[in-house]
Amino acid sequence: MGSDVIAPRMRAASEGGAKMAAPRSGLLQALVEGGASGLVLVRDSAACEGRSLLRAFATAAVKRSEPVLVVLLDVPRESFEAGLSPDVKQRLQYQDRLWTPPLPCPMDVGGLLGALGGRGSPGPSPTLLLDSLSWLLLRMRPPHVGGAIAGLLRGGTEGGRVVALLHEDLHPPSLVRALGAMATAQLVLGGPAPMATPLSQATPPRLVRVLTRPRRGGGTQKDEAFTVHPNGTLGVPPPLLATEGEGGGPSPTPPSGGAPSPITFRLRLSGAERAARAAVTPPYEHRSSMQGVPIDPDPPEDEDPDEDLDV
């Protein structure tokens, strides 16, 4: 059912080529459906997982008949492919040396990256999914990881992509920023999305901030809502409760430390609330017509009424 819903959007995206934002499909959907090349970072946290987006990338690439290599460092194969359709499972290629005996001892990071270097396979735009980049960063020096990723991108065919899952709460912000500078697109996972209409879905919509860096000029930033169905297909729910255009909107604010935020109120105003506040007449401009007594604002105070401060 999910794939039937997605299919027309996929066709629209493929007809649009490399256009980032089609009129109907969002930026995230365009990226998942082949609009991204180079390094794509999926930044999640303990409270907002991003592995489901990786599964969406895998499913979309398989539907485009692209070869997909999944490098599993965090989870075993059965966890990653749980819920995916048999057709998608069958066509995914795996590199999961860390999950199959004999286990490497000690963790053979160098050998693992060496095995990935020979991934170049004939065919259209291969997709490499790295689950996760954080595993490498905890065991290798960041410059070596960056060099390895650059090597992977150089070794791939034109238009290929490396989609890497990054647990950003495991690394210092400076390292996350440096990796973001290498990426052509970043997907920052956020919390639940406030929807205009209540939805009764098994997978509630969530927020993602999409940061793209075109080859020329500056980048773009947009907040979108999305759902990933259990079979790995991407679904785009109805518009958000507050849509404030690019760069605005409710920001993904993943709770830190894994615990949900105890705050039961919002600190920010939605667009409608901000407009309603602007329409309210300030009390000092209000004149009562019932009593005919105008209420004027207080005159500005003289800072030096006695003129004794002017030395």
Binding site: P192, P204, G257, A259
Partner: protein, 186 residues
């Protein structure tokens, strides 16, 4: 640390063995390295080998669905193991216990939002990413209450839905109830 199955329990009393190892009171066991030799070598492989040997079934019909309980993982950090070594140990245990033996691992760790122990927080956050089920237990922010001892929040991987229950510890069991619905209130 404890390993359990339908057939029984296997205990490794880490703190006691640790003291025996440190003060030389433990006798050599036929050349077998101590599971806690990481205290001197910073290598948790011997501990993993002990887990693997203890849980590997001797016959095909025994040790179905083994469970590895680690109480608690933070102590390994206190004993000198690095955070990455602890994560590697858990990774190997997941491969053997969860993937091969189709069992489960239950790990106790301590965490505090104001904690400055970066190594411990790294382990806790990494475990959160790798866990299928997370139980976050904490006291009431309003302070001590004799009828409600705390609250537990749990959420599953793949779904960002958090459910919160309150609990009361009794002599032999624990009762859970929805927030504000303790017997004392009702």
């Amino acid at each position: 640390m404890m390993f359990s199955s339908l057939e029984g329990l296997v205990f490794l009393e880490g703190l006691k063995s640790c003291l025996d190892l440190l003060f030389g009171e433990q006798e050599e066991q036929l050349g077998q390295p101590s599971p806690l030799q990481f205290i001197s070598t910073s290598d948790l492989k011997a501990l993993f080998d002990f887990v693997q040997v203890s849980l590997t079934p001797a016959s095909s019909d025994s040790w179905k669905g083994p469970v590895l309980l680690v109480d608690d993982l933070s102590v390994l950090l206190s004993l000198g193991a690095t955070a990455v070594a602890v994560l590697d140990f858990i990774h190997y245990c997941r491969v053997v216990v969860c993937s091969q033996l189709k069992g489960n691992i239950v790990v106790l760790v301590h965490s505090n939002e104001d904690s400055e122990d970066e190594e411990n927080e790294l382990v806790v956050n990494s475990l959160c990413h790798h866990s299928d089920l997370i139980l976050w237990v904490e006291g009431l922010v309003t302070g001590f209450c004799k009828d409600v001892h705390g609250q537990v929040m749990h959420w599953r991987a793949w779904r960002d839905v958090v459910q919160t229950y309150q609990y009361k510890i009794q002599d032999k069991n624990v009762t859970f109830f929805a927030r504000g619905l303790s017997a004392a209130v009702l």
